[in-house]
Point group: C2
Chain length 363, copies 2
Amino acid sequence: MATHPVTVRVVGTGLIGASLGIALSRKGFNVTLSDPSPTAARLARDLGAGEVADEAAEVPELVVVAAPPDVAAQVVVESLSRWPDAVVTDVASVKGAIADAVASAGGDLARYVGSHPMAGRERSGAGAARGDLFEGRAWVVVPTAVSRPEAVELVRQVAIAVGSAVSVMGAREHDAAVAVVSHVPQLAASLVAGRLRDVPDPAVALAGQGLRDVTRIAASDPHLWTQILAANATAVREVLTELRTDLDEVIEALNALETGDGRGALEVVNRTVGNGNAGQSRIPGKHGAARTAYATVVVMVPDTPGALGNLLTDMGDAGVNLEDLHLEHGLGQPFGLAEVSVVPGSVERLLQALDERGWRVHD
Amino acid sequence: MATHPVTVRVVGTGLIGASLGIALSRKGFNVTLSDPSPTAARLARDLGAGEVADEAAEVPELVVVAAPPDVAAQVVVESLSRWPDAVVTDVASVKGAIADAVASAGGDLARYVGSHPMAGRERSGAGAARGDLFEGRAWVVVPTAVSRPEAVELVRQVAIAVGSAVSVMGAREHDAAVAVVSHVPQLAASLVAGRLRDVPDPAVALAGQGLRDVTRIAASDPHLWTQILAANATAVREVLTELRTDLDEVIEALNALETGDGRGALEVVNRTVGNGNAGQSRIPGKHGAARTAYATVVVMVPDTPGALGNLLTDMGDAGVNLEDLHLEHGLGQPFGLAEVSVVPGSVERLLQALDERGWRVHD
């Protein structure tokens, strides 16, 4: 890392660009800003994201292209050409298509390194920017085959500077990864939720916490997801095709059970659910750490302001750290069930503490 | 409802049977217990579920068959025959197959009324029984076409007595409902999680909260789910087949985008995610009430015992009721993000209160 303040040009001052400008300025980087909308650039400046770039602006050592996904490749190519010594990165969530477009346009791939900061908010635009947007989030650094090591290192240092957990992988590897851990789960949630459209009210009224969890991300923005899924069409289609093969096998097995000749069908259903167990157990726990088998305690909590707070305060007083929390609201009841996860060694202490304080616990 | 204590025989003292015995005994019902395992019946008795039935036991007015799903129909038939004046219900989670089997065996359908108490725990057996297992949970009462009104009313009163939110529907309607709100979401979660089995570690490490939510129920018991899915094969297969049609359309659209001729493909992807929005918005909020559009505030919470409790206590002090809560743990960071949902009218008060108390809020 350079010993002088690194000069960074942020191109595109929406949520990600402006947030990055704020975070880097705070860390002593020398940030200049540009955006097709002068108002957006000035708003980002007013929020502390850096100075609005002009012709006299310092030549950047690093250019961060934070333009919308469908123009990112073009802006990367222009930036590589305009600043022939600068390292250029972009923040689009699908990487292969951008690197391919840069290569096709004859851009200098040695100075290009892709980025995917896995941070976002429900709101967009510079007005929603936050300097801590990247703290604790994954940031994937995606070099091309010919990216210079010092270019990769510069991008890595920027990601570390804003508090992200950095990993490095190739574009194909990255796009395949986000297809299976993000894009296909999104589509599955959308497809399951979509089936609820024409269901009678009394049926939807039987929805439980499982359905709520599976479909929570089905509330995501269609416009945004259309861009993402289109940009990663190949990798998403590959995983979806495998999933369809698994689905076909289940449908065939259920069909065999209906028509009576169900030989082997139960094995298929059992294996499908078992494979889900195996896959789910691979998802890392918090802090990217290896997954711990947490113990779960269910507590009845009155549905009044502060009641859940009192519960968690009592847990804190007992020295028990909460690892995860799920709320399940009673149907037509003035209370909810709080499912609290703790490390197994804490369960006895927790149960005793809650009992002493009058909580109704389902161990 | 009878004015004298109603006499109930619980046949099968596993988790559900024993819990029901405890709950009904507390409410003054006169409960006797039987189980193929005398030890299980005595354990349930020791837990307060009722008295172990003997030959001299009172003739029951209501028999609750809480046997495993694959023998429930047979036990219902035997019970209808053994106690010719009693109402008989069962607690299996799929209803059509049981009613059909009772009809085939010539059982008296006028005295049979199905039940589906939507309660359960991760643990099974009488040892895990709890008298409050049914409080605030849905309990679907499923009459046959010829069930006597007073038989339906007796079962309804039992469900109300143990604190459940009761609804009444036919077997086909019930089975179609649980297929779409429970069984298909379970399979979708299993299939998405199953795809993670062979994914490289660095890819799984990119898992975010969305994937965790979608796949949480993929950890469910394969043996139990094989029984459930097999019993509801027809209804599940129907919904899965519709879902496969939707999935095929998405795969075809992504294929069209890959091969260049993507005319109409973006519309398909956009519509799929949009349909998910529409379906998801139908899922009722807490208390079975119409869904409210809650406002969401994201707060940074140190990962120390009691910190989340302090946050919720501060919310309570400000008179703001928590409607829902999601935790997202930072990757490699000593804090998490708490996404708290409140009614929109409370947001300003909440933001001010949190600010005054020094919380870092992402509004």
